[in-house]
Amino acid sequence: MPDTTTLTETETNVSTQPTWNVVVHDDPVNLMAYVTFVLMKVFGYNEKIATTMMMQVHQQGLSIVWSGELEKAEFYAQQLQLHQLKTTIEQAE
C-alpha cells in the first residue's frame, strides 16, 4: 500500500443574500378590518394569519408581515404603502 494521504475538501454553498423584513406599523387611522383585508389581498394570507398579524400591529405596534429577498420585499412594501399602511423595510439581523 503506497504511503500517500488523500485530503478531501468539502465546500458548502450557503447563500449570503441578506434577509429583509417587511414591517407594518400601527397608526391611528387604518381600520383593523381593513389591515386584515390588505394583508389577505397583497400576500394571499388566509383570514386567520392576516388577523393574527393585524392584532400584532394593533397590540405591539408593529408586525413583520413578510421576510425574504430584497426585490420581493420592495414589491410588497410598495403594495402595502399603496394601500396606505405604514410600512418599512428592514434588514433582518
Partner: protein, 158 residues
C-alpha cells in the same frame, strides 16, 4: 344623507342638503390639506440607504400618481352628481370597481386630518379644549370613517 348598499355590490350616496354636499366635497380638500403629500410621507419611512434613493425616485412618484388619481376620480363623481338638476335624484354611485378608490380617498383625508389635529385614540376626552375648527374636523373624520366602514362591509372585495 342616505347611504345604502346596492344589489350590484356597491353603495349609493344620496345627499339631501347643502351640508351633505359640503362634507362630500371636503374629502378632497382635507386629503390635500398637508404641506407634504402622502406619497412623500410614506417615502420618508424608507430610511435604509441601500433602498431609499431608488424608493424616492421610482416608488414615491408612482404612489403620488395613484393617490392623486383616486382623489380626481371621486372629485369628478361628486361634481357630476352635483351638476344634475336639483329636482331629480342625484345619487353618487360607488360601484365595486370604484370601492377602493373611494376608500383610498377617505383614508387620505383621515390621515391628513389626524396629522394636522392629532386627535389621538380617544378624542372625546378633550372635548372641552376643542376649537370649532378642530370640532368640525373631528366630525368630518368620523363621517369619513363611517363611510369607509360601509365600503369595507358592502363593496370592497378581494
Amino acid at each position: 344623507m342616505n347611504i345604502a348598499p346596492t344589489i350590484e355590490g356597491g353603495l349609493r350616496i344620496d345627499p339631501e342638503s347643502d351640508e351633505d354636499w359640503h362634507i362630500l366635497r371636503a374629502i378632497v380638500l382635507d386629503a390635500n390639506d398637508h404641506e407634504i403629500d402622502l406619497a412623500s410621507r410614506f417615502g420618508s419611512l424608507i430610511t435604509d440607504e441601500k433602498i431609499s434613493e431608488d424608493w424616492q425616485d421610482i416608488v414615491v412618484p408612482d404612489l403620488r400618481e395613484s393617490f392623486t388619481d383616486d382623489l380626481n376620480h371621486i372629485y369628478a363623481s361628486i361634481e357630476a352628481a352635483a351638476a344634475c338638476p336639483k329636482d331629480g335624484e342625484t345619487p353618487i354611485w360607488i360601484t365595486p370597481e370604484d370601492a377602493f378608490t373611494w376608500y383610498s380617498s377617505l383614508n387620505q383625508a383621515r390621515l391628513a386630518l389626524e396629522e394636522k389635529y392629532r386627535f389621538g385614540p380617544d378624542p372625546e376626552l378633550e372635548a372641552e379644549n376643542r376649537s370649532p375648527l378642530r370640532q368640525e374636523a373631528l366630525l368630518r373624520s368620523h363621517f369619513y370613517c363611517a363611510l369607509q366602514s360601509f365600503i369595507l362591509t358592502h363593496a370592497l372585495t378581494l
